[in-house]
């Protein structure tokens, strides 16, 4: 068996996951991990599957496209080998939440994420919440993993300076505080 990563992108409608998972099953693929999201009516999903060694990537893609078309599902499909391991394995990181908010402009996410990249900080989740604090107000929420050797004070200063250039108010907080305040967890 080999591990494949299959991505889907297209217009959201009921039945997409059903069609995809049926085709995968018929092709002898076992789904080992899956995630999906919907943004502004667009459906995106990533499936990690164990596929038979005899099943070629292109053949699986063709089967999926044909099946989706027959079911009336308008989805793009990308199939590629799943890479073993992931970024940060062996690195000691702390989870932080960086928020930046202000009047919406182009270039704001690029500016903030450039700082993260410079410090080798991985963004694990990024959300843009528009219009909550006013008609042109944007709030960006970056959930990031900060390696332990990053100088937190320096990172905060750089983010603040960069944020200010783009009319953004920036806060940097350890993720635990959000969970502590809002979630009741057993030990």
């Amino acid at each position: 068996m080999k591990k494949l990563s299959i991505s889907f992108l297209g217009r959201d409608c009921p039945g997409a996951v059903s069609t995809v998972s049926q085709i995968l099953g018929q092709s002898g693929c076992n789904i080992v991990e899956v995630t999906q999201t919907i943004l502004a009516g667009e459906f995106a999903a990533i499936f990690i599957v164990q596929a038979p060694d005899t099943l070629e990537q292109e053949e699986l893609r063709r089967l999926l496209l044909t099946g989706l078309e027959a079911a009336g599902q308008d989805l793009s499909v990308l199939v590629r080998p799943a890479v073993e391991g992931q970024w940060g394995t062996g690195l000691v990181c702390e989870p932080f939440v960086v928020t930046a908010d202000g009047p919406d402009h182009t270039g704001q996410i690029a500016a903030m994420s450039r700082i993260f990249a410079q410090h080798s900080i991985n963004i694990e989740s990024l959300k843009a919440i528009l219009g909550e604090g006013g008609p042109n107000h944007a709030l960006f929420v970056f959930e990031v993993m900060v390696p332990e050797d990053v100088d937190l004070g320096r990172l905060r200063r750089e983010l603040m300076v960069e944020g200010k250039k783009h009319d953004l108010r920036v806060s940097v907080q350890h993720r635990d505080i959000f969970e502590a305040v809002h979630r009741v967890a057993s030990f």
């Binding site: 919440i129 709030l139 959930e143 905060r156 806060s171 907080q173 969970e179």
Partner: protein
């Protein structure tokens, strides 16, 4: 992954609702510093405080930065000085107080509490010396707070101490006349004083406490007010039914839970980094003079025209109880006072109600039967007789003794000023108009002295 609501509501609590950790208080036992030699004692005290407090401020700032929650004040509480400094006379007590003041300044903390005596059943030699030293000690230091426990539900009320404190409060005010009687803002008379309270001016480290410990005081009246406002704005509870007071109490309870969790998290991390045990999280709705950081404004949110209007005591009872319930669920280490403070000069809304006459000393006294402390930061005329101050203390102590709760009196007889005039203490202590004290003469009662015996329900064993 965090939800949108989890992120935005936490941000709002910090940015718009004044959520903060009001104080991280380092408790330091001074029992191992005792000596009959004053110089040796103060040297030992300075050395021990220096040893444990050196990193306190920087660690609090680092942890505050990490979580994005400011630790506004860093403070120290010590063992009751009347006990550990028992061999010394009044002059020696003043020197001890000055040494503590220097230690506080060296550590960079804004207050050090524990210049205290526990006299609910009688005076020991050190107690008398400390109480006698109060005027000079508080006038010649900047950061020292004093508390005198004169009553308890187990022991009754030491009326000799009540009488003495009436006189000493006037002397402390006179000794700090040039600062509007500021010394009295750092002096509290208690019934049932908790041993672990991190808030000033009542913080001290009880005799049953660990050698060194971190206690945390969390505030957040603004967070509670905004949560109530949001809930009432929708007009309906989460089941779609019209909001009632039961739902308001639930909102307060849940908000108190959130705020206490913040305090416990910061406190335990500070304690861990300093290599010290964590003691308690005290969630007290402690206002500051800033608008939006007021306990008084909560009363308006719940539908009263102002704090002081009929219904005030009932609202305060609900508020105080719901805060305790939320806090108790959030942490197994809830302690201190945990509830709602009603310090007049420190709360712009309470101060405005007192100034306009909507809130009298009598109403405040009624409120103290259901709040977490007592008559707090109340400016009274400078010519108030000592026996009247003692009478006010006795009434307040009786409420605490009978109801098995902490009560306290922190009144400031402002020298040279009368009813309606204003006094400003600056900073967190705020400003207040002087309000009248009840008329009538208590001197015959106060002069009888002795002790009001413990109530029948003290016999529990």
């Amino acid at each position: 992954m965090l939800s949108e609501r989890e992120v935005t509501s936490t941000l709002n609590m910090l940015r718009n609702e004044h959520l903060d950790v009001r104080t991280v208080t380092l408790g330091v036992s001074l029992f191992d510093c005792v000596s009959h030699d004053l110089q040796l004692f103060t040297d030992n005290v300075r050395a021990k405080i220096r040893r444990y407090a050196a990193q306190l401020v920087s660690v609090c700032d680092e942890v505050g930065d990490k979580y994005g929650i400011p630790v506004v004040n860093k403070r120290i509480s010590v063992s009751p000085i009347a006990v550990v400094g028992a061999p010394f006379g009044p002059d020696g007590m003043v020197r001890v107080c000055r040494a503590l003041d220097e230690a506080a300044k060296e550590a960079g903390v804004d207050f050090l509490g524990g210049f205290s005596a526990l006299v609910e059943k009688g005076f020991a030699k050190g107690d008398r010396a400390l109480i006698e030293a109060l005027p000079e000690a508080l006038a010649s230091t900047d950061r020292i707070c004093s508390s005198i426990n004169v009553a308890s539900s187990r022991s009754g009320i030491n009326m000799d101490a009540v009488a003495l404190m009436g006189r000493q409060i006037l002397k402390v005010a006179e000794a700090t006349r040039d600062r509007g009687g500021l010394g009295c803002a750092k002096l509290v008379v208690f019934a049932n004083i908790p041993q672990d309270v991190p808030f000033m001016a009542g913080a001290y480290l009880g005799v049953g406490e660990p050698d060194v410990v971190i206690n945390v005081g969390v505030s957040g009246p603004g967070v509670v007010k905004k949560a109530i406002d949001r809930a009432l704005e929708t007009g309906r509870n989460n089941r779609g039914q019209p909001m009632t007071l039961l739902d308001v109490a639930e909102v307060i309870k849940r908000t108190a839970y959130k705020v206490t969790r913040v305090g416990e998290m910061i406190g335990t991390e500070v304690a861990h980094r300093l290599g010290l045990p964590f003691g308690v999280a005290d969630l007290s709705l402690a206002p500051t003079p800033a608008v939006g950081d007021s306990v008084g404004e909560i009363f308006q949110s719940v539908g009263l025209s102002s704090i002081g209007a009929p219904g005030t005591t009932a609202v305060l009872a609900m508020l105080n109880d719901a805060v305790k319930k939320g806090g108790a669920f959030a942490s197994s280490s809830v302690g201190g006072l945990s509830g709602a403070f009603i310090p007049v000069s420190e709360d712009s809304s309470i101060e405005a109600a007192a100034t306009s006459g909507l809130l009298s000393l009598e109403k405040l006294e009624a409120m103290t039967s259901v709040c977490s402390v007592g008559l707090d930061m109340i400016a009274i005329p400078g010519d108030t007789p000592a026996s009247s101050i003692s009478g006010i203390i006795a009434d307040e102590m009786a409420i605490g003794m009978i109801n098995h709760k902490t009560t306290a009196v922190r009144v400031i007889p402002v020298p040279g000023k009368g009813v309606g005039e204003e006094v400003s203490f600056g900073g967190l202590l705020g400003k207040a108009a002087i309000i009248p004290v009840p008329r009538g003469d208590a001197s015959g009662f106060i002069n009888l002295g002795g002790r009001i015996p413990a109530p029948i329900h003290s016999l529990k064993n």
